[in-house]
């Protein structure tokens, strides 16, 4: 019983870590790869979650939806919608320097959040959408979790593989060059706008996918889920902690942050509740402090980006 319970919880954690790993990989393409400071992750996450929700949920009064499509259609739709939203945003905002882009994307995410909260006909406003299809949702609890985890793992591995390829290829080198010196990259014939947009859209699509997975897992999506604190900043902490520019780091960051986040709560939950309430704040304090310590002692993250790239041994010989 205890063991099964722990296993169940481990499954759950792994699913959540997978969801966040997708976000953090998406961010890694944008920030680690192309140096785009997207502080509106929550927005793309939300677009993905709601798109898949609308596509896969049963009909309901007074709002768009009721297409009851299979989950994979919903998820593909989520990626597409996030990418489509990212396109004009990227067109407009990618000209800005990184801090500006950050603030612009925060603003856009906030606007997306307000639209979701307020436009009843589209998203059922503050009540959210429930009864979303979850793949393998009809299986018994444990097997359903395990099967879902299987899907999530597949997605994370696939995403990792694709992104890793990109980073190690001339594409990655070109993006780092663009990040380093835009003017020179342009003079060397690189189409910066196009490349950035490419990275931004691809990263956003992954974020949208993550949102769809999240909605399916919970079978519901409500506006609280897209609070920037959990859907944007936590992801940033994951990436910075793990090591931006390094895909393993992005995933490792998701693992560590979520485990610490959850385990520290198990610890504080043991306290009597009059302390437990304060302990929540102490816990936030400790998480902040932990971040400081990491930045102090591993400012490049646990797995830093390899700044000087890959040179294979045969190159060395050829000289």
């Amino acid at each position: 019983m205890e063991l099964i319970g722990l296993l169940n919880y481990a499954l759950f954690m792994a699913i959540f870590i997978g969801i966040y790993a997708l976000l953090s990989l998406g961010l890694n393409i944008q920030w680690g790869g192309a140096g785009l400071f997207n502080a509106g992750i929550a927005g793309f996450f939300a677009v993905g979650a709601y798109t898949s929700a609308i596509l896969t949920s049963p009909a309901a009064d007074g709002r768009l939806g009721g297409y009851e499509m299979p989950f994979y259609v919903g998820w593909a739709g989520a990626m597409l919608a996030a990418a489509l939203i990212a396109w004009p945003i990227g067109k407009i905002c990618l000209r800005f320097r990184s801090d500006y882009l950050a603030i612009a994307t925060i603003g856009i995410a906030e606007i997306i959040r307000l639209v979701i909260k307020s436009e009843e006909a589209l998203t059922n406003s503050a009540r959210g959408i429930s009864s979303i299809e979850r793949p393998f949702g009809d299986l018994p609890y444990v097997s359903s979790q395990a099967a879902f985890l299987g899907i999530v793992l597949f997605l994370v591995i696939a995403a990792y593989f694709l992104v890793q390829r990109q980073f190690n290829a001339p594409w990655g080198r070109m993006m780092r060059a663009i990040r380093d010196n835009e003017l020179a990259a342009r003079a060397m014939g690189k189409n910066i706008e196009y490349r950035r947009l490419e990275a931004f859209i691809f990263g956003s699509a992954l974020m949208g996918l993550s949102g769809a997975v999240f909605a399916a897992f919970n079978r519901s999506i409500t506006p609280e889920a897209i609070d920037p604190m959990v859907a944007t900043f936590l992801v940033w902490i994951m990436l910075i902690l793990g090591g931006s520019g390094n895909n393993k780091g992005a995933i490792l960051g998701a693992v560590i942050v979520w485990v610490i986040w959850s385990v520290s709560e198990i610890a504080t939950d043991q306290l009597p509740h009059e302390y437990a309430v304060k302990a929540k704040y102490v816990r936030l304090f400790l998480i902040g402090l932990m971040l400081q310590l990491v930045l102090r002692f591993r400012p490049e993250g646990l797995l830093p980006e390899r700044t000087t790239g890959v040179t294979r041994p045969e190159d060395e010989k050829s000289q």
């Binding site: 920030w31 400071f37 407009i92 905002c93 000209r95 800005f96 320097r97 990184s98 801090d99 500006y100 950050a102 603030i103 612009a104 925060i106 603003g107 856009i108 906030e110 606007i111 307000l114 909260k117 307020s118 900043f233 940033w236 902490i237 910075i240 304060k278 704040y281 102490v282 936030l284 304090f285 998480i287 902040g288 402090l289 971040l291 400081q292 930045l295 102090r296 400012p299």
Partner: protein, 290 residues
Amino acid sequence: MDFMELLNFYLMPGIVLGCIYALGAIGVTLIFSILRYAHLAHGDLATLGAFLALAIVSGFGVSPLAALPVAMIGTAVIAVFIDKAFYNHLRERPKIVTVMASLGIALMIRAVIQVVWGVDSESYVRGIVRPENYWGLRIRDREIYTIAFMIAVVVALQLFLGRSKWGKAMRAMSDNPDLALLSGIDNRKVIILTWLIAGGLCASAGVFLGLNTELKSMMGWHMLLPMFAATILGGVGRVDGAVLGGLIVGVAEELSVLVLPSEYKTATAFVILLLMLLVRPTGLLRGKVL
């Protein structure tokens, strides 16, 4: 709607709010241009200032205005301490690292406030204050203080930055820190000075916000984005720009309910900001194109 109504219920609140944003935005803009990062703990630092003043008000029974200078000094010192303890050693790193660190600091400050003062709303003075009526203009003392304080601060700061040696040193350091060092400017002093100014102003923003509304543990955090919008709107690195930006954001937020559904009020600041970035990314008063 007649003009007096527009003035009393839309413009005045917008201006007062704008002054508060401006006080915060000045600090943001200084840090942005001199130390070169977006300081995300600025809002929570303002909250801290507000609660420090609350502690003084309730501890010694003085008026909030009397507590203001003490709170400003206290917060300024804390800001310097935070910089020393947490940001200083990140100086050589990419700026984003410091941005992340400041986010962590925001969490830490907020947690301290929540542990010490709890999460309930508080206020400096219980009860309500009805406005005086000056020939139809309805305004409260505290609103006059807010506006007057902001004006005084801006004038003083402009003079300081433009005329004094240290003001110029701050600009030089924002421009080329290495060269500033070679010119004999002690960068550490400039940084301390920057934090003293930013921290003090930040506290004043918090106190005035608390004075005009309530004190809540999240009050500063919610002010953060409008402050950044104000900063960029006015042009990064420009004190006068921050003020202009703050006022515009404040007034626009209040006026927005006339044209937009009121649930979109929060979005006003961003919409202005995005338009600004599109049309003129250097801000209204030509700031640094960072």
